[in-house]
Amino acid sequence: MITILTNMLSMCIPFSVALLLASIGEMFNQRAGVFNLGCEGIMAMGAFIGMLIPFSVGGGGPVPQVYNVLGFLAAAAVGAFLGLFFGVVTVTFRAPQGIAGIGLQMFGVGTAGTLFRHFVGGTQSIPGIPDIDIPLLSKIPFLGDVFFSHNGAAYLAYLFIPVAWYILFKTPWGLKVRAVGTNPRAADSMGINVSRTRYESLMLGGALAGLAGAYLSIAQAKMFSDTLISGRGFIAVALVYFGHWHPLQIMGGALLFTFAQTFQTQIQSMGISFPYELAVMLPYVLVIVVLSFTSRNQTTAPTSLGKPFNREMRT
């Protein structure tokens, strides 16, 4: 029993990174007032590009770590580009964000699948990035496995949480983001460029979603497939609601959902005769339950979330 628990808990941190990064990115989008449902599509593109670079260099064999880093950077760049594209659609043209996000999701997932079939072909694995055991700390029984023997990207992602908190709450740019998401008209009259700030936060959010996708393909699954993302982008959006638009609470949510997901891997590995489809369903059911409890009182939500800003309109 203890080993099972240790196994599940030690999977929590590395498996939660993709959700966490995408969700923090989405948090920046929503704090600026843009509801980006295309997160899933951006993650798919990030996952594909991230995997493509180490794969095309090493052909599936070992590659120097620098190419994995390049994969992450390229995924972030593609994500930022798609964020920019979404900005053109929803900020400049003020298209309805929900349905435009569905479009972006289909575009991203479709493009990743198309390019994948051309450049990679079938299921191909890459070596990925190794786990780093932190000296001494990883030797602690239980805690060492759970906290201190993961891959480098996972540590960096968790180090990014306080950074995201600092950016959002302690820097002038973070204040601008919160202002344009809460009251864009007031922000505009104070000389803040609402469109520009929204563009910037969409690009940051897109880059993080791209990184999240690349993490899935490079560090977690070590491969790409059409079903790699399987709704994680949408769960990430739901986590932002669950986490009340705050980085630390989002982290808690990401860990909770990952814990639910690890059930599935444990059940499969232990060979318990329990229909594993039910275990796969669990996180999705959890999202609906959680949303049902948290959507009623949206007092912490950015008040202009989902509303395009138009200087020329009076209301």
Binding site: G110, H118, D226
Partner: protein, 362 residues
């Protein structure tokens, strides 16, 4: 501002939008080194070249049309249903369940009951996000997507266990997860090739939706709830009720589409029947201007794209996923173009610019 200018403005914007969509799709095709012209020819023209191809296009247009009609009801009532994929899967399960349970009931009774089961199944699956939206303000975009994944898992669970074809039972993991071939008593007749009478269903349902949404009080109340919820509430309309109802209708249509697909085409429940029709239905509904009479041609067009894309891998070496890229681009372009068209300030600015240019010339 002259009438000619207004029409020309509209035409030019639509033209630019179409060009933008083609351009983005072409860039993706160019990236994979495909022959862009040949690909578009294969996807858009080849399926029209013989009767067999056309019947295949129509087969795909049937579920698209029915699903898009349901999505229109929801969209017009202010709730975006992207859960048609899951509602369709549940509809298929309900339809197959009835067919498997009562194989000996005569056809005039069994087929309607099985289709009704599909309607109820889909409707129930649509009821969940509807009531969650109406009562608890849960974003339907997220809840319907989650229900899609849940339905997909439930679908394969059923196919693997209680619905499993006895012929596949002994094979264990090697077997195909599918139900046995359903009794002929639930089959829909076929007109030509695989084209079945579901086509008539789709056309009748389109007329029905037009009547429901634009000629009845019920439809008016649903549309009022969708276009301005606060005004509707002030006018004494129970918005929560109509939003939920719209979602139930939407789900019921998707479920029915699933039932018809099984009765007409596959005649057994098998993986991959839903074939992304749920998402494509959203594109069809938007492309058809959220109106039944626009949806009929739109569903034919997207049936064409979807069938054409299945020809693309063998003919021009382009993965069939390209159709998903096109659909995504088309959604984005449509919603963007609509915003430009409805922007009176922009139209006015263009008009003034043109008239000042004319004055200079004069």
């Amino acid at each position: 501002m002259t009438r000619t200018f207004r029409l020309a403005f509209k035409a030019v914007i639509i033209l630019i939008a179409a060009l933008a969509a083609v351009l983005i799709a072409s860039i993706i095709l160019w990236m994979i080194g495909a022959d862009v012209g040949a690909t578009f020819y294969t996807i858009c023209i080849v399926p029209l070249t013989n009767t067999l191809h056309i019947t295949e296009v129509l087969i795909r247009a049937i579920p698209l049309c029915i699903i898009a009609l349901g999505i229109t009801v929801a969209y017009r009532s202010g709730i975006i249903n992207i859960g048609a994929e899951g509602q369709m899967a549940i509809g298929i399960l309900a339809f197959t369940g009835v067919a498997l349970a009562f194989p000996s009931v005569p056809r005039p009774l069994l087929l309607p009951i099985a289709l009704l089961a599909a309607v109820i199944g889909g409707g129930l699956w649509g009821f969940i996000p509807g009531i969650l939206k109406a009562r608890l303000n849960v974003s339907e975009l997220l809840s319907t997507v989650m229900l899609n994944y849940i339905a997909a898992q439930f679908y394969s669970l059923c196919l693997r266990t209680i619905y499993l074809d006895p012929a596949e039972q002994g094979l264990g993991a090697a077997g195909t997860p599918q139900s046995m071939r359903l009794t002929e008593n639930v089959w829909l007749g076929r007109m030509s090739g695989r084209l079945h009478y579901g086509l008539l269903f789709a056309l009748v349902l389109a007329a029905l939706i037009f009547f429901l949404m634009w000629k009845t009080t019920l439809g008016f109340r649903m549309r009022a709830s969708g276009s301005e919820a606060r005004a509707a509430r002030y006018g004494g309309i129970n918005v929560a009720f109509y939003v939920t109802l719209a979602m139930v209708i939407s789900g019921a249509f998707s479920g029915l589409a699933g039932g018809i697909e099984i009765a007409g085409v596959h005649r057994r429940a098998i993986e991959g029947v839903t074939n992304n029709y749920g998402f494509s239905g959203v594109v069809v509904a938007l492309f058809g201007g959220l109106h039944p009479f626009g949806i009929i041609p739109a569903s034919f067009f997207f049936g064409l794209l979807i069938y054409g894309a299945t020809l693309a891998p063998s003919k021009v070496g382009v993965p069939a996923n390209i159709v998903q890229v096109m659909q995504g681009v088309i959604i984005i372009v449509i919603v963007t173009a609509q915003m430009v068209l409805s922007n009176a300030y922009f139209q006015d600015r263009v008009w003034r610019k043109i008239s000042s240019l004319r004055k200079k010339e004069a």
